[in-house]
Amino acid sequence: MLKEKRAPDIEKTLAKYPSRRSAVMPLLYIAQEEYGYCDDSAIREVAEILGLDPTEVKSIVGFYTMFYEEPTGQYVIDVCDDLPCALRGADEFVSHCERKLGVKAGQTTPDGKFTLRTVMCIAACDRAPVAQVNTEYRYALTPESFDQMIDELRERDGK
């Protein structure tokens, strides 16, 4: 249970706000760190800690793109294909990512390693094409540097 396992983090978070409800997003991030995604039982745990109805917490999960309602790959790769990046080749770059991983954007590789998604502007248009891997920036990507990154991530975990 989060309440026990992450007690210090939860206490620290709650102390930041005069209203418990404000902690809903930070607590969902904690739940996601623990479980990988925010399923109904995670949502119920967060709701119980905050004294909210699980339905309310679920609506928050559904509203934002960074809370996952279903399991993802070990690495979530978010590639921006919004206009500023697309003016610097992001559409072609996304096609390359799809070919390299053998999945379409929005899908997860069969080994559960990578989820590829396209996202709206992530505020790094000066270093396009740009992606985030588990929310860490990878700037000025090329097909070659992407392939290298994927190979390294595969190797890192001995697969």
Partner: protein, 421 residues
């Protein structure tokens, strides 16, 4: 401008570290304000400087602060670091490379309105910048610049970071407050304005990251010093984000009103392969596109408005003659369709139908009737939504139709003839 006022990492590398920041006048304004200035004097100098909000709306910051009622407690300062407008990446650089100036500006704002708590709301994708910022906040606490009884003056201030989770709408100030309160990130009706009833229904100042980064040098050097940059109505310097079809995309800090769009593109290395400019989006997807005939427009709030667009967040996306305008407009409409929060029917449905029309036109099945329908959909959204998102969503449609209608007609000329037959 011999030195940067905001992008000071370009003059003083490692200014993200407290020691380097302090060696470059860092926290000098904060020390002076706390020991030598009354809160209302801080408000007055920011008001006199004419600093306008850098998040997009351009509202005078000092005036905003002066709306905060003196006798209601607690009060809050909320910093808008949701930076999600396509083409905008200035706050990103400030947070990564000059975080103490953002913290000092936040602290000065809090002292000016006598708030004891500030929240810095960063978009969820700014996880790495949030770590840099948190490290700087921790340094400031350790140095006694934040926390309880700061510098022995009896003034207390806590600054907390709050991460969003991927929603453009949360950059709208009332949606941001809702999100921070743990509600859905949807806009609220104004009035009441946040200055009267903001976070937790208490008086709240909301300012953009870049706006607050301007405050320490203003308090340190005075309003007249700040006004040496810029124009009377647009004082100071501004960070211009340049992206798209240029050789050196990046952030360029310039005095407002001194340079033209053409010069800005030259600073950004000119266009790729020296292609002619076709159009410029001065504020990402949210402000009307300007055609190449407007390239000599000066870079300030009033000139951009006179030219038929807006300075907004000054995120200049440059399109050259290789760019298909209908393709670009579709990308922008797709953005708004994705980011519509769903609260208002005209925006939620309008962006959906506009997107369908773009898909139809681009798949070669469109007709002139569809082109006219795009304008009709946009006009059915304009002025009918709760917040500006619905308004912004019409701008790529209507402004590209206004300046580049022949490109739409070209797309539908063959298919249109078939559909009409």
């Amino acid at each position: 401008m011999d030195k940067h006022v905001l992008l000071r990492d370009l003059d003083a590398p490692n200014i993200r570290e407290l020691a380097v920041y302090e060696a470059n006048d860092g926290y000098a304004a904060w020390r002076r304000a706390l020991t030598d200035m009354k809160p209302e004097e801080v408000v007055a100098v920011v008001k006199d400087s004419g600093l306008r909000g850098r998040g997009g709306a351009g509202f005078p910051a000092g005036l905003k602060w002066s709306f905060i009622p003196r006798d209601i407690f607690p009060k809050y300062v909320v910093v808008n670091g949701d930076e999600s407008e396509a083409g905008t990446f200035k706050d990103h650089q400030l947070l990564d490379n000059n975080p103490h100036q953002v913290i000092e500006g936040t602290a000065l704002c809090a002292y000016a309105v006598q708030a004891n708590t500030a929240y810095i709301y960063l978009r969820g994708e700014f996880l790495e910048p949030s770590r840099t910022l948190q490290k700087a906040i921790d340094e400031a606490y350790a140095a006694g610049l934040l926390g309880r009884n700061i510098l022995g003056t009896g003034y207390n201030l806590d600054i907390h970071i709050h991460l969003g989770a991927g929603a453009y709408i949360c950059g709208e100030e009332t949606a941001l407050l809702s999100s921070l309160e743990g509600q859905l990130g949807q806009p609220r009706l104004r009035p009441p304005f946040p200055a009267v009833q903001g976070l937790y229904a208490k008086p709240t100042v909301i300012n953009n990251v870049e706006t607050l980064a301007n405050v320490p040098p203003i308090v340190l050097n005075g309003a007249q010093w700040y006004r040496q940059f810029g124009t009377e109505k647009s004082p100071g310097t501004k960070i211009f984000c340049v992206s798209g079809r240029v050789n050196k995309p990046g952030n360029y800090e310039l005095p407002l009103g001194q340079h033209t769009i053409r010069e800005l593109i030259e600073m950004a290395g000119g266009t790729i392969n020296n292609r002619p400019v076709k159009g410029v989006l001065p504020a990402g997807s949210s402000a009307p596109i300007l055609p190449a005939s407007a390239l000599d427009t000066k870079l300030d709030y009033e000139s951009m408005q006179a030219a038929g667009s807006l300075l907004g967040s000054a995120s200049f996306v440059i399109l050259d003659d290789t760019v298909d305008i209908v393709w670009a407009a579709r990308k922008m409409v797709r953005f708004f369709k994705h980011e519509s929060c769903g609260k208002c029917t005209p925006c939620r449905e309008g962006t959906h139908w506009a997107m369908n029309l773009y898909d139809k036109i681009i798949s070669g099945k469109g007709s002139l009737h569809d082109v006219d329908m795009l304008a009709e959909v946009a006009n059915s959204m304009a002025g009918k939504c709760f917040c500006l998102l619905g308004e912004f969503a019409t701008s790529p449609i209507l402004s590209t139709l206004k300046h580049f209608r022949p490109e739409y007609e070209k797309w539908v000329s063959e298919s249109g003839a078939l559909a009409g037959a």
